[in-house]
């Protein structure tokens, strides 16, 4: 089954052709990072305008690189949410026009469900994991931080999520305060090289929900520290800039690891999936490897280029949903900027 995926939920215009949910025939991603860099964050109206300019070219590229025509396709998959409404509508409307004129079924896909299936895309050097649930999944992007227990395709129990900012947002806002560029994740990671993680003890929030996350307090603490108000946090005399970045990064990684470890223990998870843009962070990856080893769990982290938003994951998710009979072709789907993960309702057994 060959599926064309289209993804325009935020500031990336992406299209991909994927065979049987794992074999990527083409994967085209056009990032608008340069457009939004002067503003230190994504400007929604600007993002929608750029999506409009790029969408046709990106889809043509994906079809050309995969060397397929529309006759070879079995379905078109497109992100319907969550994301920026203006951006979502461009991809969704384009996909609808394409589906209507080619007669192909249109499969709307949830953006985060797409991220989950990026873990099963085949890489050059190694085979995929196959699909052997259950999986404990950590989704960490610029807009979302969620801990999900997946028992099968389409069955997701959200164990916990962020109460305020997303992990990627904490990186972006931290980077802005530190005078580093956008996007913040790679910028802080680079600036933190050679820094001492224990130079400053930024606070790690303790929350009521054992699997929830919170980054707002940490962010405020960094703002206050940079203003010279929180000297007491220093564990080292005159920390360097690299020390500050490394300490801030370590705090974010710690905040992610604590609920994850608790969930590993409770669910006795045999496998761990970590996806989303923040999963490209090397410091987080090292800590995750240690964690997986400690619990003897399989660890699935896609390579960095599949961690960020792409359309191959959308096509992959559509394939798995179609295979399980969970998705019907739907030309009437609406964009939903706050769509919850689509879990079909069985009594949740704990």
């Amino acid at each position: 089954m060959i599926i064309l995926g289209i993804e325009t939920s935020c500031d990336e215009t992406a299209a991909a052709v994927v065979k049987d949910g794992t074999e990527v025939l083409s994967n085209v991603v056009l990032s608008q990072v340069a457009v939004h860099q002067p503003f230190g964050g994504i400007v929604p109206e600007l993002a929608s305008r750029k999506q409009m300019e790029f969408i046709t070219w990106v889809v043509h590229q994906a079809m050309e690189q995969a060397k397929v025509s529309f006759d070879c396709l079995d379905a078109i998959a497109v992100t319907y949410g969550p994301g920026l409404i203006g951006s979502l509508l461009v991809g969704l409307s384009f996909a609808k026009g394409l589906a209507l004129s080619t007669g192909l079924p249109l499969i709307p896909v949830h953006h985060l469900e797409g991220h989950l299936f990026s873990a099963f895309l085949k890489q050059k050097d190694k085979d995929g994991d196959g699909f052997q649930p259950p999986y404990l999944c950590l989704i960490v992007t610029g807009g979302h931080t969620e801990l999900v227990w997946m028992t099968r395709v389409g069955r997701y129990q959200v164990l916990g999520q962020t109460l305020d900012d997303a992990a990627g947002e904490a990186f972006d806002k931290g980077a802005r305060a530190l005078g580093l560029g956008f996007p913040g994740g790679p910028a802080i990671e680079k600036a933190a090289q050679g820094g001492d993680e224990s130079a400053i003890l930024f606070p790690r929030a303790t929350l009521e929900g054992p699997f929830d996350f919170s980054f707002a307090g940490l962010k405020t603490s960094l703002y206050r520290y940079l203003k010279g108000l929180e000297k007491r946090l220093e564990r080292k005399v005159r920390p360097t800039f690299a020390d500050i970045c490394a300490s801030y990064q370590a705090a974010i990684v710690d905040m992610l690891l604590q609920p994850l470890e608790r969930a590993m223990e409770e669910k006795e998870a045999p496998a761990l999936i970590v996806v989303g843009g923040v999963a490209a962070n090397q410091s987080l990856r090292r800590r995750l490897e240690d964690l997986a080893q400690k619990w003897r769990a399989r660890l699935l982290i896609p390579p960095p280029y599949w961690c960020t938003d792409n359309a191959a994951m959308i096509a992959a998710a559509a394939f798995f949903r179609l295979k399980e009979g969970l998705s019907q072709p739907d030309l009437f789907a609406d964009a939903d900027p706050r769509a919850p993960l689509p879990s079909f309702s069985e009594a949740v057994s704990n």
Binding site: L46, E53, F70, F94, A95, K96, G97, L100, S101, F332
Partner: protein
């Protein structure tokens, strides 16, 4: 030129047109200037959901299929950003899937093109822009000479009273305002004293008018599709620039 114009009369292109610049969204199918079918609906924040059915119904009602369409024409506005993008992105998808050219038409041009029976006049096409600025209008100016419409200024944005003011010092014998208005603009128009020499014609851009403008353009320039990057006419910059 004249020959091309005629040939498009004798063997007309079948055009599918979409107008999504305002809340009364429409879709039309035409053989050249000849309207075969037009459907409209009132849409508020549900355009993407309802567009496929709108198009399917318009085409099926006359017993045709999408494969018989030669050209797609879509409105470029100006108007509601999101609504225009939804319509244009849908039109782009249709054009790619059918492998047919896409023409983007200014909705103000479409309004001006529908006025023909005047000899020498200034036409100002306009309609309200943003709900937050009730007196502000999108407008463009056209000159009509011997039945031919010529655009003399690009799409812009102005407060209605200021626009009216700027029109009063011209040397035109006839000034025609074409478009639609909201309550605030209607109120202002009713109570202002000068400018009674101007005529306000209430018209909304429709898919059929978009198709007519497309046919004229094809007659004038031949059938040349837009580039992939074509975007709506925003007039206003994206915040926070």
């Amino acid at each position: 030129m004249e020959n091309q114009h005629k040939s498009s009369h004798n063997n007309p292109f079948t055009i599918l047109a979409l107008e999504t610049s305002h809340e009364i969204v429409s879709c039309a199918v035409c053989d050249g200037y000849h309207l075969l079918s037009q459907t409209q609906l009132y849409s508020y924040q549900d355009l993407s959901r309802r567009l496929p059915q709108l198009v399917t119904e318009t085409v099926k009602r006359i017993g045709r299929s999408l494969n018989q369409i030669d050209v797609i024409a879509a409105s470029l506005g100006p108007g509601s950003f999101t609504s225009l993008r939804t319509g244009l992105a849908f039109a782009k998808g249709l054009a790619v899937g059918l492998n047919k050219p896409l023409l983007g038409i200014s909705s103000l041009d479409a309004l001006a093109n529908a006025i023909q029976h005047l000899s020498d006049a200034l036409i100002v096409c306009l309609y309200p822009s943003r709900p937050s600025r009730p007196l502000e209008v999108y407008y463009a100016r056209y000159r009509i000479q011997k039945g031919e419409v010529h655009k003399i200024s690009h799409e812009s944005c102005e407060e209605f009273p200021l626009l009216l003011n700027s029109l009063s010092d011209g040397h035109w014998s006839v000034v025609l305002l074409v478009g639609y208005f909201n309550a605030e603009i209607a109120d202002y128009w009713k109570h202002q004293t000068d400018g009674k020499d101007k005529i306000f014609v209430y018209r909304r851009p429709s898919a059929y008018k978009i198709a007519l403008a497309a046919v004229r353009r094809i007659g004038r320039e031949g059938l040349k599709g837009e580039t992939d990057e074509v975007t709506p006419i925003y007039v206003l910059p994206a915040p926070p620039m």
